[in-house]
Amino acid sequence: MDTGMSPHQNKPHQSTPIRQKGLSAKHREWVAGYLFVLPDAIGLLIFLGLPMALSLVLAVFEVNGFGGYRFVGFANFVRMGKDPLFWQAARVTALYAVLLVPLLYVCGLGLALLVQKTNRFNAVMRAMFFAPHMVSLVVVAVVWQFMVVDKIGVINKLTPLLGISGISFLGDPQFALLTVVFVSLWFLMGFYMLIFLGGLQDIPKEYYEAAKIDGASPFHCFWYITLPLLKPTSFFVLMVSMVAAVAGAQAFDIIYVMTKGGPANSTAVLIVYIYQQAFSFGAFGYAAAMSSVLVIVLMLVTALFFVMTKGGRFSYD
């Protein structure tokens, strides 16, 4: 089927009317454009757009296990305010994000600086740093669970070297969240290393050469050239890791498989609590209400980020 006509064509006048069947070249391009975008547009609308809208709608209903709906107004939001487990989950989520995001930033950037130079050795090292990110989170969670299993896991054999022993990493509410943060860090930092490597690549080498001539130390170079010029990358990393910590499927997988939110709800982040409310207790309306709060918080934080960084734009000076 011939749909395209070009203004560059040499003899358009004979063939144009037959080929175009009443549509001008411009309109043919329009139609083609819409048709090409259509499958993805419909899919995204049904499986991403609609759920986002629906979570607001579901939030004002009570849904029973058999799919029956009853309008309850703001009852789900009132219930949220009075639910101590919701506030506990909000606290755990905030703590998880506040611990994980800075650690990811520092470790991601640290690893990137370590293997920044392009050579064979560093290529192998990069791959090794990144390898954990290739393994499924279920496997990651199971393997780490085994490594820290009460008193006899291999980590418990190593901790006496640091002067501590007999810690129940996943059984003690004091340590469970830290353990989960550590495993998340282990899994995610290779990815952020890659993002930072991309950012470091874009910094013009001339800056470092000029600084070297002026006698600047490596620390000065890092502080006055690397960090300021990495601002766009830093923004992206903080943004994405924050969203990943609060609402990411990866955080869900690790926590759900390792602890199911326990012990004593010490690792029950909001997304795990929401999931349990929906799929263990059938409280879809209540779960949707909590999700919509989460969406609004995420949007506010994102907006705040954008305002603070003047729309995500940075000047290179």
Partner: protein, 282 residues
């Protein structure tokens, strides 16, 4: 102040020592990071009696754990499900996303920028946030406990469309012109010019999509409760709750699940890491 010349121009032996130290630290760190995976493989080959001893190399390596996992549990079935779902999602997603990317990058039509922005704005929407309404929608469409429910919702994501669009924007305008002069339609341009040109980025994306779907857990867990539709990640999570004390079986199962992705990674590490690196900004 007097030592500035020597630090600005360090002797070559100093440089060598610093470089060797640097490499040593990097290598030790890399081994520490890899240790849990090595440990997993190690236990998978150990006998139950040995699974809590601290030696990395098993004293009497055995294949019994693998045999047990592959015969005692329908792991082959889980893997076949995972493979079928991941491959289907990858192929359909590549087809749809190249189409959308091509239109958004190279065709002019009203509303194009708005459509692109709308797609881009779903970038940060994550599955746990929409899982409850998504489940309700998929249930209403009658796709619970069906391959369609596992496959269709996983196809659509902004990341692939975005990367492909960026790629197509960077291609020179001239490449279509000859085809247009020949009177080729947009479908032919897409099929016989754009698609062949996008082979490198498509292979990178294919690997990424396949891996992401092979490793996915939350959605398959939610949408398929029937055991013969379980993918391998759900299977292994369930296996763990049944055999919580048999760590050697657990690690053998984990190794079986992790090996395909690690092998893919070793073969395609450059493509995988490069395409993820460019997903940062730009």
């Amino acid at each position: 102040m007097t030592d500035i010349p020597s630090s600005a121009y360090p002797s070559s032996s100093q440089v060598t020592i610093v470089r060797i130290l640097w490499m040593l630290i990097t290598a030790i760190l890399a081994l520490m990071i890899l240790f849990p995976l090595l440990w997993m493989v190690s236990i998978a080959f150990k006998t139950p009696a040995e699974s809590f001893s601290a030696n990395l190399i098993p004293s009497e390596p055995t294949l019994e754990n693998f045999k047990y996992v592959l015969t005692g549990v329908p792991f082959i079935r889980y893997m076949a499900n995972s493979f079928f779902v991941s491959a289907s999602v990858t192929i359909i997603a590549l087809f749809f996303h190249t189409m959308a990317g091509y239109a958004l990058a190279r065709l002019r039509f009203p509303g194009r920028e708005i459509i692109f922005l709308a797609i881009f704005s779903t970038f940060l929407v994550s599955l746990p946030v929409i899982i409850v309404p998504l489940f309700v929608i998929v249930r209403a469409m009658g796709m619970l406990n069906a391959y369609a429910g596992l496959i269709v919702p996983s196809i659509f994501n902004a990341f692939g469309i975005f990367l492909l669009r960026q790629y197509y924007v960077s291609l020179p305008r001239e490449i279509e012109e000859a085809a247009i002069v020949d009177g080729a339609g947009y479908w032919r341009i897409y099929w016989s010019i754009i698609l062949p040109l996008s082979r490198p980025i498509m292979s990178a994306l294919a690997i990424l999509f396949f891996l992401a779907n092979w490793n996915a857990f939350l959605w398959p867990l939610t949408v398929a409760s029937k055991a013969d539709l379980w993918v391998v990640q759900v299977g292994i999570a369930n296996f763990r709750s049944q055999y919580s004390a048999s760590w050697n079986y657990m690690m053998a199962a984990s190794t079986i699940v992790a090996i395909p992705t690690l092998v893919l990674f070793i073969i395609f590490q450059r493509q995988i890491m490069d395409s993820l690196k460019t997903s940062g900004l730009k």
